[in-house]
Symmetry: C2
Subunit: 235 residues, 2 copies
């Protein structure tokens, strides 16, 4: 890493494999000829963070305080900005930001900004997510703020997406799970979506752009590229 590169703090473990997938995308997005050219990432792959889905359903503890604690921890270790490869956890972004003195880069803002720049003005965005992230309304608000129509999943489709995510978290990355997710995404296309946002960091473990006829925005990938750009930027 160049002397002026910024150290990245990663609030991880949601889930652990999505964090590893994010780290791999950061590595691949970095122009590097040796180990020393890479970006420094400090990662807390932390299983103590309470379930975000349960908290959104009012059935479990608030993860905000633990997320804030991890963030403070990463800042004290030398992180110069923070990222969090979990979309739903951004429902507690204000708890994190209130606790730290370094920037926090939102996966939601970055994914929406990428979707806008990669699609025609006014075209509908298909929002593929989980029940908790849907209920939090993070993407609906961000897309409304830029006047973009959004095509959302039905409650049944959200439940089906969650069932697939649970399989992925159990380590099942079979073609059946991938086909199920792809079919859910294509329902949004059939209802008019001209671009898809995969607003859950488990989805890109099985889906990629080559599987779709429309532009597919992987929130993990967008955040990874932004992370490298910020770590390597000179200002």
């Amino acid at each position: 890493m160049a002397e002026q590169d910024r150290t990245v703090g990663i609030i991880g473990g949601m889930g652990p494999e999505a964090t590893v997938d994010f780290m791999l995308r950061v590595i691949k997005a970095t122009p590097a000829k040796s180990d020393q050219d890479h970006v420094r990432t400090i990662v807390d792959n932390n299983p103590h963070i309470p379930s975000r889905q349960m908290a959104m359903r009012g059935e479990g503890p608030n993860p905000g305080p633990v997320l804030a604690e991890v963030a403070v921890h990463l800042e004290s270790m030398g992180a110069e900005f923070l990222v969090m490869p979990c979309n739903l956890a951004h429902a507690w972004q204000s708890d994190i930001e209130a606790a730290i003195n370094i920037p926090f880069i939102s996966i939601v803002d970055e994914s929406v900004s990428s979707a806008i720049s990669r699609s025609e003005e006014g075209s509908a965005v298909g929002l593929m997510t989980t029940p908790g992230c849907f209920a939090a309304g993070l993407y609906q608000k961000a897309l409304a703020d830029v006047n973009r129509p959004v095509i959302t999943q039905t409650p049944d489709e959200l439940s089906e997406a969650m069932a697939h995510v649970e399989q992925i978290k159990l380590g099942n990355k079979s073609a059946k799970v991938a086909d199920g997710l792809r079919s859910l995404a294509n329902k949004l296309v059939a209802r008019g979506a001209r671009i898809l946002i995969a607003a859950c960091t488990e989805f890109p473990l099985l889906l990629d752009e080559s599987m779709f006829d429309v532009t597919f925005v992987s929130s993990t990938d967008v955040l990874a590229k932004k992370t490298v750009a910020l770590a390597k930027s000179e200002s």
Copy 2:
């Protein structure tokens, strides 16, 4: 993670992709039904660690002080034991151990112990490694300590292995590189090795046991399984 699970500190970045590969193997080796069942890992994916190969050739700075600093850092963050998914870096294990008050688990000791338990008494171990790790003599000493004959690479074979590792570090994981590594390993088998140790954490990014007629010990995998066992052990 269960309350009594131990937090793992990972001295990472050597190379960054080998660290991520190690983390993925830790996740896969963990019996988990939810994010909360996983082991907590705190990772410093640190590109400031000077080149171990250059240091072994006497052409670059000593990485020992930086490795010790990273180790102290991880201990201060709550790590209860440390691992380092890089074989050659264990040449500076004494610098690390002198700086910390928690256990450091050696990839060399664990790999040799795994090789011994998986092969017939007295059978020859093929040591597949890089020039720096060969020069450090870590594995030769550990195998001599348990009276195991070792079949080593020639200087040309070590150089060829290093050229493949450099390709992997550049992101080239082509069949050509994999075939080159496999062919090098098979030369050790042709010279009498009855079990192979892949003593470089870049090798298992391309090689696995299914490719060989003899037992293949992935140092990355052995360390990952030991890490989970220790993190989950009750004593």
